[in-house]
Amino acid sequence: MTEPATDPLTWRRLSPWALAILFTQRVVRFVRENIPLLLGAGAGAALLERIGVRELTLALVVGLLIAGLVSLLYYQRFRFRIDGHVLVVQKGILERTEVKVDADRVQHIAIEQPIYLRPFDVVRFSLDTPGGITTEVELPGIRRELAEALRKAMEADRDRAPDVVRGSEPTASAKPNLLFRIGPGGLTLHGLTSNHAYVIAVLLAPLLQPLERMLLRDPKRLAELPWLETLMASPVLAMALAGIGLLLVLVVLSVIIAWMRFFEFRLFQRDARYVQRSGLFNRQEQTLSAEKLQSVDWVQTALGRTFGVGYLVCRQYGAAPTGSDLAGGRFLIPGLYRRDGVRLARAFWPDLFPARSQEPAPTTASPRMAPPEMAPPEGPSPESASSENVAINDRRLVLGFQRVSPQYRRFMALRLAVGALAGTGGIVLLGGPFGWLLIGLVVAMLAWPLAHLRWLAVGWRQDSRHLLIRRGLLGLRTSFFPLENIQAIGLRRNWFQRRHGLATLQLQLASGAQALPFIDYSAALAIANEALYRAEQAAAGGSIADRPPSDAADDPKAIAGPGRQSVYDSRPDAPD
């Protein structure tokens, strides 16, 4: 590490402005955890009536003072330093914690600047290592130049890792290559088509009940609004207008959120890292190590499919399999047309979506994997190999996918219908209202159309060493990843699948599981065999065919014990 600005081996403290971040974080966490509960149950109003405004204000002031005091103590006890290529952080008020993070293990670095800290040029610096679901280390409030120096120091040390495309000197070679930049149109489209609207609706839902109660408690207020009375005379019109109004508000809010979050979004490639910068008020910079990238999702919501836009989510080690696309260290690239999506996917894995003229012969298990009934409904692009590869590649995210067996649709419909009827029947049997059974019947009737939509959405294809798995209902999410990235493989077969010669293949990645349901059993085995071969070859550095070192444990009987059947097979020499 050659960064004088970080002055290694001396303990450093956070900037005094970090107090603002710590205080705000505590207050926001408290509000987020408690306010929806109070508002949702109407308990806030009851509390106000019972305790009184003055007492409540006093309690709030005391609460804020405690939050301030805790933040001050936390700030005082927080210190960090760079020791060789290890970042050491000591923190904690009652329980002292020392965290050491080796630069080689860092997969993701984020520098974030809330608007209230912009005048002071103070940022929040955080980094993740593989295996952690939450952020590993956070320095909440250091000067920007120190954060930049820390980032460079961690990246410079990380460049010592093998298989990383190295520049001659990290700082000298760090000329970023702009991969993508979003425009106002892209931002607006992303806002329109993203699922922010549903999230906002869910967040606002607890407010509806108190609002309704407030209006009903004071009918005079309604009388003051004659247009509202006119509307109430025609409930259908009122509901339709309310619905449209709510939708408009949600869409506008959704677009505003997209502008705030992704304003001036830029994606760069610098050495073997991807860097993105964005944000209107809260400026963020995320750095993702290319070698830690596990899988990429191409996501199109139902509206996004109409407009032909979507977004990419780059997933790394340890990201929780479920949750928001922005959760953890996930790397979201918004507002992409399909062409941009394909181009960026190829920036991550250059051998993905090979041009048709260069496409290798189908050496994978596809002949066995594609019986006639599973042949892709949409054939490959009719254009000849000499036509524009860009146009063909553009369609690679939608064409050539094999559907899973139609038995999947049957099974899903049956499971949903039986599950809904059994669940609601059980509720009625245990004394629940009879209306539950009606709900169960409606769900049972919708089971087939839903299962059909699901079956239409689920598909897969293999592109040389990459597997693409598509799923969804109205929206679509296509995950793609190199087969050698698998951590483990699972093959699951219930009695229904065994009867029809099918299996569900589960590919466990470090970024979460990917399932391929109801595919031909032989196809599942072929993918499993190839994925295992590629993973093991990659881990062994291409020498998988070599026998393991001779030792006592190599004798199957020594492993399996006397009298046990040999559990080894002798692997044939691996083909090249």
Partner: protein, 178 residues
């Protein structure tokens, strides 16, 4: 990122389906039956309480307990049959574990992906001299593989072998961060 994309002949790959699997210990079946039977009293008590906490008539209690008795026969029987079918296999590069009766699962874990190995046993397992081996992978619990039903000596040998193979595959494996 180093890029390798050599073509692969699917017919020449080591076939998972060709691997002969070895059954787990014969003591695992009685252990499973006993474990199921021990878990039933709690369920029976809850079912017995059902008419008291729901509008179900008290007359339904014998019927519920009858259903419970049926479960007390069927669940241990299924557990016995399932345990007799559990099996595992080792190849040069990975560990294979087969489980399940109605839903059959085969899990394969390459040695190179194992982060660490843990052996554990509960009191009932110790009565039967059984040990569980858990192989942990990176990035969450989804890929972790639990091999149940091995006798202590065999589990010890397997554990040692796994550790040796892991070490052989990654001589410069990263150490714990903290």
């Amino acid at each position: 990122m180093a890029l390798s994309n050599a073509p692969v002949d699917p017919h020449g790959l080591p076939a998972l389906e060709a691997l002969p699997l070895s059954p787990v210990s014969a003591r695992f079946a009685p252990y499973q039956v006993l474990a199921r039977l021990l878990s039933l009293p709690v369920l029976a008590f809850l079912i017995w309480l059902l008419p008291a906490i729901t509008p179900l008539p008290l007359e339904a209690r014998p019927m519920l307990l009858g259903a419970m008795a049926l479960l007390a026969v069927v669940l241990p029987l299924l557990a016995w049959l399932e345990a007799r079918r559990r099996a595992f296999g080792l190849r040069e590069q990975d560990l294979v574990y087969h489980s399940g009766l109605l839903v059959q699962r085969t899990a394969v874990l390459p040695f190179a992906r194992i982060q660490h190995v843990e052996t554990a046993s509960n009191p009932l397992e110790r009565v039967f001299n059984l040990v569980r081996i858990t192989c942990f992978t990176a990035g969450g619990t989804g890929g972790d593989l639990v091999v149940q039903g091995l006798e202590r000596e065999e589990a010890g040998r397997l554990r040692e072998y796994l550790l040796e193979r892991i070490q052989a595959l990654s001589p410069t494996a990263p150490t714990s961060l903290d």
